[in-house]
C-alpha cells in the first residue's frame, strides 16, 4: 500500500519490540493509506496485539518508527494519539461497566472542543442507531450482552470521528448476527466517514472479504503482505499460520 505521493495515514518502519529475551516484533514494516481496511493475521504470539499496542502508544517500540500522518508516535501518550484521530477496540471488550450506554459514548469527548461536545448527544444517538443499540441508550453497560458490549465499544471508538481505528479480534466469540452488524458498520464507516481500519482477527475468510490489504505476521516478522487473496496463498503464510488444510 505504498507508492502514493502524500504521506500514508500510518507508516510502520522497521519496528522492533522485545520483552526480555523474546522478540515480539522484528523489523516490521508496512503502510496503511486513508480510506482502507487492512487485515492483520498471524498465529497466536506472532506479535499482532503488541503491534497494535505500539501503534496505540501503550507500549514503546525498542527500534524503528511509527508515524500517524506526519506525527511520530514514539513517546506520545494514547490520549495524545486519540486527539490526533487514532482510536481502538480491545481483544476483550472493555466498556465502562457502571456507565450507561450513552455515557460510554460521551467519555471520549471530555477534552474535545465545546462545539464538538455540544453535538455529543446528536453524535451518540446517530452511532447508537448505526450499531442498533438505540433502545439501550439508558441501560448501564453491564446490563448489555457480550455482543452488545462489543457493538458499544465499536460505537465508542467512532464517536470522535477518528481517522484510523485499530480493532483487536472484533469477531472473537460474538454471535454471527453481531458479526454481520460489525462488518456492515466497518464497511459503511470507511465509505461514509473515510476512516481506515487495522483489524486483527483469526476469522481469515471474513477478513479476506472485507480487507483491501493484508499483512501476516509470523514470529514477529512480516511473512507476507499484499492483496488478501495473494497473502492467504503465500507459501510462508500457509506454512507459518494457515496450514495446508
Amino acid at each position: 500500500m505504498s507508492g502514493a505521493d502524500a504521506a500514508p495515514l500510518l507508516a510502520i518502519d522497521a519496528v522492533t519490540k522485545k520483552f526480555g529475551g523474546v522478540v515480539a516484533l522484528n523489523a516490521v514494516s508496512f503502510q496503511l493509506e486513508a480510506n482502507r481496511v487492512v487485515g492483520l493475521i498471524g498465529p497466536n504470539g506472532s506479535g499482532k496485539t503488541t503491534l497494535l499496542n505500539v501503534i496505540n502508544g501503550v507500549v514503546d517500540a525498542d527500534g524503528g518508527e511509527v508515524r500517524l500522518g506526519d506525527m511520530k508516535i514514539g513517546g506520545k501518550r494514547p490520549s495524545d494519539l486519540a486527539a490526533n484521530g487514532l482510536s481502538r477496540t480491545f481483544q476483550t471488550t472493555r466498556v465502562f461497566q457502571t456507565l450507561t450506554t450513552m455515557q460510554n459514548l460521551f467519555v471520549p469527548l471530555l477534552h474535545r472542543q465545546a462545539l464538538e461536545r455540544s453535538k455529543a448527544t446528536e453524535r451518540a444517538n446517530e452511532l447508537l442507531a448505526f450499531v442498533g443499540l438505540e433502545r439501550h441508550a439508558g441501560h448501564t453497560a453491564s446490563e448489555l450482552s457480550g455482543g452488545q458490549q462489543r457493538l458499544l465499544e465499536f460505537a465508542r471508538a467512532l464517536v470522535t470521528h477518528p481517522r484510523l481505528i485499530l480493532m483487536d479480534e472484533p469477531f472473537a466469540g460474538v454471535h454471527p448476527e453481531i458479526k454481520k452488524v460489525l462488518i456492515r458498520c466497518i464497511r459503511e464507516t470507511v465509505q461514509k466517514e473515510g476512516a481506515s481500519f487495522l483489524i486483527v482477527s483469526h476469522e481469515v475468510p471474513d477478513l479476506v472479504n472485507m480487507s483491501d490489504f493484508m499483512v501476516c505476521l509470523v514470529e514477529g516478522r512480516v511473512a507476507a503482505s499484499g492483496l488478501p487473496t495473494a497473502v492467504v496463498h503465500d507459501e510462508k503464510v500457509i506454512e507459518g499460520y494457515l496450514g495446508r488444510n
Binding site: 501503550v58 501518550r77 494514547p78 490520549s79 486519540a82 457502571t98 460510554n104 467519555v107 469527548l109 471530555l110
Partner: protein, 291 residues
C-alpha cells in the same frame, strides 16, 4: 428511654456524616487511582489547624473556613500530585505506600513544629450551645458540622454522577488504559481526583476540628477511623462511604451510651472483621463493589 434512644440516633447520624467525609476522599483516591494515601489524615489535621488559625488570627467562622478549605486543599493536592504522585503512581504499590507514609510523617512533624503537641479546640459562638428538638437534645456544632458534611458528600456524588469530568473519572477508575485509549488524559484527571481527595480531607478536618479537640498527632486516630469507614463502605463509591460513616457513627454513640468508650473500638473492629470474613473479600474485591 425513648428520648435517650432518639438522642443517641440523632447524635450518631451527625457523627456518621462527619466520619463519612473523613473517609470519602481516601476512598475515592484509593478506589479510582489505586493510591493508598496514608497521608490523608495528615491533611485532615492540617484542615483542622487551617480553621483554627483563621479563627484565632482573623476571627473567620469555621463554617466559612469549611468552604475556604476546599479550594485551598484542592490546590495543595494538585501540587502533591505533580511533585510526588506522578513519580510513584505507576510503580509497585509498596513504593507509593512508602512515599505517602513519608509525606504523612513530614506533615505531622511540620504540624508539631508549628503548633506543638498541645491539644487545641475551636470555640465558635455556637460551640457550647444546643438545640432541643422535641425530646432530642442536639449540640449545635454537631448539627452544623453534620450539615456541612452532607453538603460536601452530596456535591461530590453529584459531580461524579452527573458531570462529564466526573463520569470520565469513574471510567478511568474502572479501566485506566481503555480510558486513555479513547482519549482521556488520565494524568489530568488523576490530578483532579487527587486534588478532590485532599480537598475533602481539608474540609473534613475543619468539620472534625469544630467537634473534637485536635493536635498534630491525633491524625493517626483519624486515619484509623477513615480506613474503617472506607473498608466498611468499599472503595470509590460516595454513597457506600456515607452509609459506612453513618453505621460507624451510630455504633459509636450506641455503644458509648451503655458501655465505657473503649468498647466502641472493640465493637467496631469486631464488626469489621465479621464483615470482611462474611463477604470473603479483601481490598481488591472491595474496589470492584465501588466506582
Amino acid at each position: 428511654m425513648l428520648n435517650q434512644i432518639a438522642t443517641i440516633v440523632a447524635d450518631g447520624v451527625l457523627l456518621g456524616l462527619i466520619y463519612a467525609i473523613a473517609g470519602v476522599g481516601l476512598s475515592l483516591v484509593l478506589g479510582i487511582m489505586g493510591i493508598v494515601n496514608v497521608a490523608h489524615s495528615a491533611f485532615i489535621m492540617l484542615g483542622s489547624f487551617f480553621a483554627f488559625e483563621l479563627f484565632r488570627r482573623l476571627g473567620v467562622d469555621p463554617i466559612i473556613s469549611f468552604f475556604l478549605a476546599f479550594p485551598v486543599f484542592f490546590a495543595a493536592g494538585i501540587v502533591v500530585y505533580r511533585l510526588l504522585i506522578t513519580r510513584v503512581e505507576l510503580a509497585p504499590q509498596t513504593q507509593g505506600l512508602v512515599a505517602m507514609f513519608g509525606l504523612m510523617v513530614l506533615l505531622e512533624s511540620i504540624g508539631t513544629i508549628a503548633w506543638t503537641t498541645d491539644t487545641r479546640v475551636i470555640t465558635a459562638s455556637y460551640t457550647n450551645t444546643a438545640t432541643l428538638i422535641g425530646p432530642v437534645v442536639l449540640a449545635n456544632v454537631k448539627v452544623i458540622a453534620g450539615a456541612l458534611a452532607l453538603v460536601l458528600i452530596v456535591s461530590l456524588w453529584a459531580f461524579l454522577r452527573f458531570t462529564l469530568t466526573g463520569r470520565a473519572i469513574r471510567a478511568m477508575g474502572q479501566d485506566r488504559s481503555a480510558a486513555m485509549s479513547v482519549g482521556v488524559n488520565v494524568r489530568q484527571l488523576s490530578a483532579i481526583m487527587f486534588g478532590l481527595g485532599i480537598a475533602c480531607a481539608g474540609s473534613a478536618g475543619v468539620a472534625l476540628g469544630m467537634v473534637f479537640p485536635f493536635s498534630p498527632n491525633t491524625q493517626i486516630l483519624w486515619l484509623a477511623w477513615a480506613f474503617l469507614v472506607v473498608i466498611l463502605g468499599g472503595l470509590g463509591n460516595v454513597g457506600n462511604t456515607l452509609i459506612a460513616g453513618l453505621v460507624v457513627g451510630l455504633i459509636q454513640t450506641g455503644v458509648a451510651a451503655f458501655m465505657p468508650f473503649d468498647y466502641v473500638y472493640l465493637v467496631l473492629y469486631v464488626l469489621l472483621a465479621v464483615i470482611l470474613v462474611a463477604r470473603r473479600e479483601g481490598l481488591s474485591r472491595a474496589v470492584r463493589r465501588g466506582i
